[in-house]
Amino acid sequence: MDDIASAFSQAVSLVLAADPAILEIVGLSFRVTLSAVVVACLIGLPLGALLAVKAFPGRTAVIVAINALMGLPPVVVGLFVYLMLSNAGPFGVLQLLYTPTAMIVAQSILVTPIVAGLARQVIADLHAEYDEQLRSMGVTATGAIPTLLWDGRHALATVALAGFGRAVAEVGAVLIVGGNIDHVTRVMTTAIALETSKGNLSLALGLGIILLFMSVLVNGAVMGLRATSGRVAHV
């Protein structure tokens, strides 16, 4: 128990002292995760909206597939991206394996179905409300997508935050495709796993504290946005 208390005390000191090693890891974690969420939103939001408003053959199958992919195991995604980016893979020539870009690709694949699946539901609800009005104005189903995305922006922000929460806490995929290389691809989750295995509990705990803080921050932001969204639902 004393060891845990001591490790916790050291961890707090590291965080408060803004240890450069920790800052580097936190910075890379943010860069990778935010980039992945941006990519996932750029693909997932229009895709979710399209699935919500446009009827086409195979739409139900696509929705079922996206819903199933929302629970993708990160290690499977990591393995898939590894095979694609390894020298023997189709994209091996790009030499992206063990780079932050590979980690962004893996996290984007993990988060995109979450963003698309949740966005589809948000937009479908809004579309049910707006459909007749927009059609009476001569707006086509696909033409309605920008209007629906804009008017659903508060709810969609929580969707993006949900994707961020998933990506920032993920370890399996980034470990496989990033390799947890010091100063290159080491992010919070992979560093925690490594430092714990080395017995360096203070650094692992320090990173854990930051990760928990970020998780709380993200959840707080989600709740705050939902509350704001409720207040300004009329806007």
Binding site: Q133, R135, S136, M137, T147, D151, A233, H234, V235
Partner: protein, 244 residues
């Protein structure tokens, strides 16, 4: 201006849901330049008729033709529909109008000018930055109506736009409707309110059970309705059927 899309002819329209004919061989004609009021009891098919006219629904059979020579299709923005319950975007009053004007294809200064015209038309200048959904019911319907006028439609369809509004709001809506009519728009107005129909109507179409039971000039309709159904409706009696 309205001549291009009028007369509007509905010929033997049928629309069914689960085998039940909600519109059952509906035929009538609406002439150019007049304000046509569609009246009838609940379930007569009045709102459905407007949706068929607007093209939001496709009839099972029958046809709607516009103008002379008859056209079977018209540009969506030539015909505008105001719903009983306005669906406003989650934006400010001005942003709702900007959206409608943009949908009509206006850009740049023309868009801004048209938004200002519409705000003035609806008496909504002071509310331009107010979220549309916190407006009163009357203000929301005024916004909905001027939004429908954004593209200067040649036919304006109104589905009980003053239901549940107070007299002042009703008057404001009627003034806007009359203004649109004076501007050249053909008006097709659904209402249950006999007094309102008498104020607005040049022609009346009386519907029951998905059919047009009686059509004609408003004066004659209100003074001497020719059908028993219309007489019963205007007297506030329940009409059971042809044999009743």
């Amino acid at each position: 201006m309205s001549d291009q899309l009028t007369p509007i002819r509905l010929h033997e329209l049928v629309y069914s849901v689960d085998g039940r004919r909600l519109i059952d061989g509906l035929s009538f004609e609406m002439r150019a330049g007049s304000r046509t009021v569609i009246m009838g009891p609940n379930g007569a098919g009045k709102s459905l008729t407007l949706r068929l006219l607007q093209g939001l629904m496709e009839p099972d059979s029958g046809s709607i033709t516009w103008g002379e020579p008859p056209k079977h299709t018209v540009g969506r923005q030539s015909v505008s529909l105001v719903f009983q319950r306005p669906v406003l975007l989650r934006r400010t009053v001005a942003a709702n109008l900007r959206h409608a004007v943009a949908v009509c294809g206006m850009r740049g200064p023309a868009r801004s000018e048209r938004v200002e015209e519409l705000l003035a038309m609806g008496g909504l200048e002071a509310l331009r930055r107010t979220p549309a959904r916190v407006l009163s019911a009357g203000e929301q319907q005024r916004l909905s109506l001027v939004r429908a006028l954004a593209g200067r439609p040649r036919v304006l369809l109104l589905d009980e736009p003053t239901a549940n509004l107070d007299p002042a709001s009703t008057l404001a809506i009627e003034r806007l409707v009359n203004g649109a009519h004076e501007g050249g728009a053909k008006i097709v107005f659904v209402t249950h309110d006999r007094d309102q129909a008498a104020r607005l109507a040049d022609d009346v179409v009386f519907m029951q059970d998905g059919r047009a039971v009686e059509t004609g000039a408003a004066d004659r309709f209100f003074s001497a309705p020719s059908s028993e159904e219309a007489r019963a409706y205007l007297d506030g009696r329940l009409f059971v059927g042809g044999d009743g």
